[in-house]
Symmetry: C2
Subunit: 440 residues, 2 copies
Amino acid sequence: MDHVTGKTDSTELEIGDILAQKPYGRVITMHGAIHDIKEMSGFSFITLRKKDGVVQCIYGGDFDLPPITEECTVLVTGIPKEEARARNGLELTLTGLRVLTRPKASLPVKISKAKMNLNVNTTLDLRAVTLRNLRERAVFKIQEGLTRGFRDYLEKAGFTEIHTPKIVSAGAEGGSNIFRLDYFGRKAFLTQSPQFYKQIMVGVYERVFETAPVFRAEKHATARHLNEYTSLDFEMGYIHSFYDVMEMETGILQSMFDLLNREYGRYLAVLKIELPDVSNIPCIRFDEAKRLASEKYGRPIRDPNDLEPEEEQNIGRYFKEETGSSFVFVTHYPGKKRPFYAKDDPTDPKRTLSFDLLLNGMEVTTGGERISDYDEQVAKLRAKGLDPADFESYLMLHKYGVPPHGGLGLGLERLTMALLGLDNVRFATLFPRDLNRLEP
Amino acid sequence: MDHVTGKTDSTELEIGDILAQKPYGRVITMHGAIHDIKEMSGFSFITLRKKDGVVQCIYGGDFDLPPITEECTVLVTGIPKEEARARNGLELTLTGLRVLTRPKASLPVKISKAKMNLNVNTTLDLRAVTLRNLRERAVFKIQEGLTRGFRDYLEKAGFTEIHTPKIVSAGAEGGSNIFRLDYFGRKAFLTQSPQFYKQIMVGVYERVFETAPVFRAEKHATARHLNEYTSLDFEMGYIHSFYDVMEMETGILQSMFDLLNREYGRYLAVLKIELPDVSNIPCIRFDEAKRLASEKYGRPIRDPNDLEPEEEQNIGRYFKEETGSSFVFVTHYPGKKRPFYAKDDPTDPKRTLSFDLLLNGMEVTTGGERISDYDEQVAKLRAKGLDPADFESYLMLHKYGVPPHGGLGLGLERLTMALLGLDNVRFATLFPRDLNRLEP
């Protein structure tokens, strides 16, 4: 009988190992994919793509090189040395190369170029290969860092991570933008947000978060809409006002950016990104923000109850110009455009105790205080034309008691897009889903 | 204009704060929910439920107590002291109490009992309140620790976290056990596993993981099946054999249990759980495991290609008795019951280079090496009666090259169930989905 002990002692080095151990002048072993081959006179540059970067290898004819092409995966031996002109400051003089796997066909696009300059559909149709480009890879490493920073901060702040169902019997956000499915002969939906469940869980753990997919059957074919995206959600009890939620989000953003600066510097460098300052985020009431942007940029206010995309852009621009901040919290949205669980402002019942966070003029978060009183929630459901009987299991929360609470949802792909200055949210999504795209 | 800086200076203390700061004899402030009230002669015990435990409070008539019931949320002031007989070794003599929110109705079940002893349906129908019971809460704190341990280990091992779509155009696991939905007039499905996408991402980052929901339209109404569950998935390139995947899983389990012992001891204590040893997991071939269990327990082998649940139990029991291990890896499953991406054993083409991990006689993981060669994958699809044209975007992976690779999926709820000795997987799920249950 064999045993497995969880210990591995691979002799194959990663770039990080070489930079740490500096085995210069000695023969080492590495695996990787052939990212690029350049034939020079008398020697070749072979670029090896590894999980943590690329390594420039030199083949000088010292051994018989088997036939290789781009995207062969290989095991090489070689002697590393410091080489300031190469990426990662490393160069490997090859002493041997063995092919592990071979592609069936040659690449349809050149992925070793710094920028591929393909159109959206080609980029997405060929996702299995275009993601191998170093810029594309960097985008989703940054995205990983954002998710990690979110979780790290909330874990330290005493939040519990939860997993809530995506197949549900009722939508949380209302409207017709919901996917339907057949659930063993019953009508069911795909969740638009974990709203009901995270509120229920405030009654259990006080503070909870979830990082999970949500689904919106929106028929928008814009550069900033997806039909499936990753929502970073939290909900917290015992708040004193919805400003506590905004403070928590500001702390999260600080944690995210600290982590990126600390551990993801090389990916920020590939994308030439400098992270915005989040030590201090301005915060302004909805009506005031509308007015200021309208006055400064001469664009009349048409809908007093909502922000049009261009108005959001102008508000973002205003605060960038006036305060230097890329972020701005807009508070006290009119109740008309907020969901039924949003708490009305007791001093101005047409406004809600809610906010959006804009980054570079685009909404990346919606949050606020929720209703915790049963009668108040039932009355608001009715006022929105909804039947409380349809929300029985959700209302158990209010019926059996919940602390004053609030929370938010942060769209991971939108945050990535706005932060990295991508011009389409699809480029901030590994495998986007939109009106026309179900593959890959 | 206001500003938000991410700094909070709450004066409300948590249990952990008191244990660390020891402000004994001084007046402090705390919030919480009234978990239990016991009237004694001349004074009352009021148990406050907080996110990190419960605090015994004493009200001796020193101020006017407003009317309170269970599940009121309150803000109290009081003087803490050490009290060995109380939970967390703390007692708070109340000097003031303010009600923050009140429930509309009294609790339908007594949640402050150590064990509620309700049937499955009552427990699940009343999830918004039954989860407030301290044992129930402990289960999902342990579950959180398992997810954290999984991520922590893989991050350190150089894996990249990914988010892949749940709405897909084809199922990865085949069969009819798949939910269908209407996607803007096109036929779409809910993902059965992130298999295709994590393989594609091996071509990008070498090592990837995802913790996300998967969906199975299985019509099984058993104590161990769910129609939606959380799958902890990873996939790794440049493996030398599928034993590398098993080593990685063993390392993950060690990381999970280390974290639980380090940070979740009080929840393990509530549930009276001692974690099994994972320093060394036995590993046995499928045929051999079947034969040993059949011989020892006198149960004839009926299906040579699969393990029946009772056979799994017997194999688990065999290895517990013979080696003391609660875990066992069963390897080299017959190809007949393995999916089309499983790599056949070149020395025995009816077997695959795959494994299951059993914990206490229940399968918690399926994994193995995958096919990386294009022609081999196309041939296997055909042999399984599938049309390669239906898998075009997946096959791009093999067409344009991928290293030798393998991975696994670990069912979070099943792992929680087996580890905690729960008799129904629904008790390891916050809001389970089964044949009959879509709510809450």
